[in-house]
């Protein structure tokens, strides 16, 4: 076991746990935000740099602080490690910078984006971003694409988190989708627009933190906060069949996996992630297809959450507190 202290909270975690996972065990405000890390996808994380934290003490054996900020989603904890997240002005400033970079070419078309209301980037920019923008240049644009007949790719909104690439690598048997081009022009694509017809490809919609990959059967049907999430299941030969359905009246507008507090697919009883198949996701759109278990509670401080406004107020207070810390450090 390794004893790690994050922002003054101490916890014992098994060796090899990452800082983010340790922080999630503590919970609350001190959990670094993650845009590209997805605990159930191997080798994910490290790209977006939002989870940068400061290690003020490496371990009991080697108490030197780490010279640079490290990514919490990849850095494993050591016994005696001390980590600063929201108590470090340096971290908050770096994070504000990362949010600015992520939004630099993001179209901010939230009013017409299907992801609005459950978007990680929205949450992140409310919590850690600056109010205004310093972007003065034309934003980068890509043509819209379809990945198969059920998924729409809106590359303009993409933040290159690589989560969908990891889904394609790890869930779909034949990988025909990845990253093309380099740097500023890099884009997610299926090579030569080849359609993905894997049974699992729809999961890339669930892992997408922004509105870059959206469900064509749901696009423009309804804002997410007007739909009611219900836990439901059916007997499926391919997947676990445990889903969240989003209904309006009697109509099932969309079907997604069950996302937990960090917007990741929850594990089913057998301890495996509850990925769902494309049949369940795209084709079972009648209430009679499903056995309703009950209403689904959305924990995340997103717009769709019922107690969102209270949480937002709390968030704003936290933010001004963080700003004060930052300014104080700046003045010193």
């Amino acid at each position: 076991m390794a004893r790690v202290t994050i922002d003054g909270h101490t916890i014992d975690v098994p060796e090899g746990t990452t800082i983010v996972e340790a922080a999630r065990k503590i919970g609350g405000d001190i959990v670094p935000p993650t845009m590209c890390y997805y605990s159930t996808l191997k080798t994910s994380g490290g790209y977006c740099r939002t989870c940068l934290v400061k290690v003020t003490k490496g371990s009991d054996k080697d108490p030197r602080p780490m010279p640079k900020l490290v990514v919490g989603c990849r850095q494993t904890v050591m016994d005696g490690m001390e980590v600063q997240n929201i108590t470090s002005p340096e971290v908050l400033e770096a994070r504000e910078g990362v949010v600015e970079f992520l939004l630099l070419n993001h179209p901010l078309d939230c009013p017409v984006c299907d992801q609005a209301g459950e978007c990680d980037l929205q949450d992140l920019s409310y919590a850690h971003g600056d109010e205004g923008t310093r972007t003065e240049f034309r934003r980068r644009t890509f043509p819209m694409k379809s990945i198969g007949d059920k998924i729409k790719l809106h590359m303009n909104r993409c933040i290159m988190c690589y989560r969908c690439v990891k889904v394609a690598e790890q869930l779909c048997p034949e990988r025909v989708h990845g990253v093309l081009n380099r740097g500023w022009d890099a884009e997610i694509s299926t090579y030569i627009e080849k359609a993905i017809d894997s049974e699992w490809s729809g999961n890339m919609i669930d892992v997408c933190p922004v509105g870059a990959l959206t469900d064509k059967t749901f696009r423009f049907k309804s804002r997410v906060w007007f739909t009611k999430p219900l836990d439901a299941h059916r007997n499926c030969d391919v997947c676990c069949g445990k889903v969240a359905i989003w209904v309006s009246g009697d109509a099932v507008l969309r079907v997604t996996g069950r996302k937990g507090v960090y917007h990741e697919i929850e594990n089913t009883e057998d301890g495996k992630p509850g990925w769902i198949c494309n049949t369940c996701r795209f084709e079972k759109k009648n209430l009679s297809d499903w056995v309703i278990e009950g209403p689904r509670h959305i924990d995340r401080h997103s717009v769709i959450s019922q107690n969102h406004y209270e949480q937002l107020k709390q968030l704003k207070q936290d933010l001004s507190r963080q700003k004060q810390i930052g300014e104080k450090a700046h003045n010193n």
């Binding site: 990514v71 910078g97 990362v98 600015e100 970079f101 630099l104 034309r138 290159m160 500023w184």
Partner: protein, 444 residues
């Protein structure tokens, strides 16, 4: 001229062939090394104080001693010949004229590290050098220096040359490994370091061409003798690719410790500034290291003469110092516009960013756009602070050192030449007379 350990005998005809190389004492170090124990070679390199010549200057012997040696797992040595840093062309020169010194160095180093398969990862643009190296390797195979049971020592080695596809980022060691494995050349997230998990998940050492070539003279003259050359912790000789507004641009082998002033002005090296102009600024180690104005490159902030060593050039940190880097020594005379220069560098980094992590992908492009607008005469004073803020938010926040490399030139240009930026903004053009025009100045 000091001692020549790498570029000696270059005037001998046929030095690029096996027989010519052997006539000048080539492959004698290999024969000597094969009589030694592999650990002793590592110790010898440690004693020599040889430091990585690719830019970071990390002690090579220490790097070798970090190599994990799990039983039953192969180990690899990779030579990083993906020399793409603007201003640096020493490795190409060495490989082109003395390919066998690299081959010999690879065999000795592989023997020291216990690697039975080694790779030279060469930049795709240098196709003709690839052919030269391949020919040298074929000759070495024919002479029994490569293959099974080299010179009866029982040591087997296969050496491959692999051509990259011309991405700057593939000079970063983990991106190089990814590329060598046939994947997209994206840097890996460290840890694990290549010394533990590198090529195909096995322990791997990645060294620069010049570093590996330097092992040959170290074995020949012994590590102690090598360590006597140079000043303090900067031992041995270093290849410097001198370019820019000097009378004699080219690749020079210097003993570390030569004063910068002597290097620029003496006849045996750069031969002074072209057309009798005055020195304005120097980029001392390839495009990514901070640019320094004339008064700071010749003398440190304390008034001491600056020497061509790792320590002396870095004296004063980034506030008044720079880095030896890869030895790409770019000299600029008084007619050079620093704003245009940094624009050109930022264009390069914008183009070469791999796009994996957000600060670098977005930040390099943003800086390039701001500088392009500034160069178009549409800059505002706030742009200088904005550039400063952006570079600060990139530096140290990225997966690999590319972000730092993109941030440092911008930071140093603003730090030392802020008035030139302000002047450019107020007039919409530079006061400095230019020798060159810049095309394709459009917002992309």
């Amino acid at each position: 001229m000091g001692r020549q350990l790498l570029l000696d005998n270059l005037d001998k005809p046929g030095i690029n062939t096996l027989s010519g190389y052997q006539q000048t004492g080539g492959y004698e170090s290999l024969k000597k090394a094969l009589q030694m124990k592999p650990e002793d070679i590592v110790t010898e390199v440690q004693k020599s104080g040889l430091r990585g010549r690719g830019g970071a200057g990390f002690p090579t012997g220490m790097k070798w001693s970090f190599l994990a040696k799990p039983p039953g797992e192969p180990r690899y040595l990779i030579c990083n010949a993906d020399e793409s840093e603007p201003g640096t062309f020493k490795d190409r020169y060495l490989m082109q004229h003395k390919p066998h010194i690299l081959v010999e160095g690879m065999i000795i180093s592989s023997f020291a590290l216990g690697a039975n398969t080694s790779y030279i990862y060469i930049r795709g643009e240098m196709m003709y050098v690839y052919h030269i190296l391949q020919k040298a390797i074929d000759e070495a195979y024919a002479a029994g220096y490569l293959g099974k049971n080299i010179l009866g020592s029982g040591f087997d080695l296969d050496l491959h040359v692999h051509c990259g596809a011309g991405a700057y980022i593939c000079g970063e060691e983990t991106a190089l490994i990814e590329s060598l494995e046939g994947k997209r050349g994206n840097p890996r997230i460290k840890p694990p370091f290549p010394a533990v998990k590198g090529l195909w998940g096995c322990p791997t050492v990645v060294n620069n061409v010049e570093t590996i070539a330097a092992v040959v003279p170290i074995i020949r003259i012994t590590g102690e003798e090598y360590a006597k050359i140079g000043v303090g912790k900067s031992t041995g000789t270093k290849l410097i690719s001198a370019s820019g507004h000097i009378n004699k641009p080219g690749v020079y082998e210097i003993e570390l410790g030569v004063p910068v002033e002597e290097f620029i002005y003496s006849e045996q090296y750069c031969g002074g500034i072209r057309n009798g102009k005055k020195l304005k600024a120097v980029v001392a180690g390839g495009s990514s290291v901070p640019v320094l104005p004339a008064e700071l490159i010749l003398k440190t902030a304390n008034g001491e003469a600056r020497l061509m060593t790792y320590e002396s050039l870095a004296d004063g940190g980034f506030a008044t110092g720079t880095m030896l880097g890869s030895g790409g020594f770019i000299v600029m005379d008084e007619d050079t516009s620093i704003v245009k220069n940094v624009w050109n560098f930022s264009r390069f980094y914008h183009h070469e960013s791999c796009g994996q992590c957000s600060p670098c992908r977005e930040g390099t492009g943003w800086m390039y756009k701001i500088l392009s607008r500034l160069l178009d005469g549409k800059g505002e004073t706030k742009d200088i602070d904005l550039l400063w803020d952006i570079q600060r938010k990139i530096e140290g926040k990225t997966i690999c050192p590319f972000g730092d490399a993109a941030a440092w030139p911008v930071a140093a240009s603003i730090r030392h030449f802020r008035n030139e930026f302000e002047q450019y903004i107020s007039k919409g053009k530079s006061d400095v007379k230019h020798y060159y025009r810049i095309n394709n100045l459009q917002e992309s």
